[in-house]
């Protein structure tokens, strides 16, 4: 997670561990690429800010785009859940509370990626109109 003071670089750290911060940074850098491609494909390339039903289905019928979006869901969910967990653990909660937060975040991550993956696969199987 972020630091409070910029000047010294290490005056205040959040309770997220250094390994967690490193994975957060790495997944964040991947997301710059994933989100850039997503914004281009979904909001610019089609010449309209909204991507409607037919264009989404056409897009998801391509195996590589399907794989891209599944990986996107997995990485962005990790980044989101890890960040959210870090923020919650920085609040006034005890060690036991932090352990519960860890369990809850793992559960949330699993639910999100399973749901996102199944949704992407099911959408890819919708026949083109």
């Amino acid at each position: 997670m972020a630091e409070v003071e910029m000047s010294s670089g290490r005056e205040v750290r959040s309770s997220t561990g250094s390994l967690g911060r490193m994975f957060q940074a790495a997944s964040g850098l991947f997301l710059i690429f994933f989100l850039g491609v997503h914004l281009y494909v979904a909001h610019i390339d089609f010449g309209h800010p909204i991507q409607f039903f037919t264009s989404v289905i056409e897009n998801m019928h391509n195996f590589w785009w399907l794989a891209f979006f599944i990986v996107f869901v997995w990485v962005i969910s990790y980044h989101a859940v890890n960040g959210l967990g870090g923020i919650i653990k920085d609040l006034n909660i005890g060690e036991k509370g932090k352990a519960y937060v860890n369990y809850a975040m793992v559960a949330l991550y699993i639910v999100t990626v399973v749901y996102g993956t199944i949704l992407a696969v099911l959408v890819a199987r919708i026949p083109l109109p």
Binding site: M1, A2, E3, V4, E5, M6, S7, G9, E11, V12, S14, R21, M22, A25, A26, G28, L29, L31, I32, L35, L39, H43, I44, G47, H48, P49, I50, Q51, F52, F53, T54, V56, I57, I76, S77, A80, G83, L84, I87, D90, L91, N92, T112, Y115, G116, L119, L122, V123, I126, P129
Partner: protein
């Protein structure tokens, strides 16, 4: 100052919002957290909207149009704010990631300004291309 920042951190979002006389470092830190929470909320909203693809073409197109434009196109303001939050978070996050690799620790404030200016220019370009065909549906 550091003790006060830690206290604000423990207070949650209301504590983070106490920017007064904290400097740009604290502002960057607090806004990174706020923007992160907004993006997490939007992630699940996005999944909810996309789930309606399974319902059918008319339902999905109707829903995605209503959540994008809203009454009197008022939701377009929220779209712009969301894009602003995403670009801010991405730029500040890139700076933090480079910090984790030991890059730019000595010039952190300058890096913050440079990354944010670049991201706002990219935001302007994105918004221009995203909305130049507005109303062409």
């Amino acid at each position: 100052m550091v003790e006060e920042n830690v206290k604000n951190l423990r207070e949650g979002p209301m504590g983070w919002a106490k920017f007064y006389r904290k400097g740009i470092g604290y502002f960057a830190f607090a806004m990174h957290r706020f923007s992160g929470l907004v993006i997490v909320f939007y992630l699940y909203l996005h999944l909810f909207v996309l789930s309606h693809l399974l319902v059918g073409k008319a339902t999905y197109n109707s829903l995605v149009t209503s959540v994008t434009y809203g009454p009197f196109d008022s939701f377009l303001v929220l779209d712009v704010l969301l894009a602003l939050v995403i670009f801010y978070h991405g730029a500040n996050g890139t700076r933090l990631a480079l910090n984790e690799l030991g890059i730019g620790l000595e010039n952190n404030k300058a890096m913050f300004y440079v990354f944010e200016v670049i991201s706002m220019v990219l935001l302007g370009i994105f918004l221009y291309y995203a909305y130049m065909f507005l109303g062409a549906s």
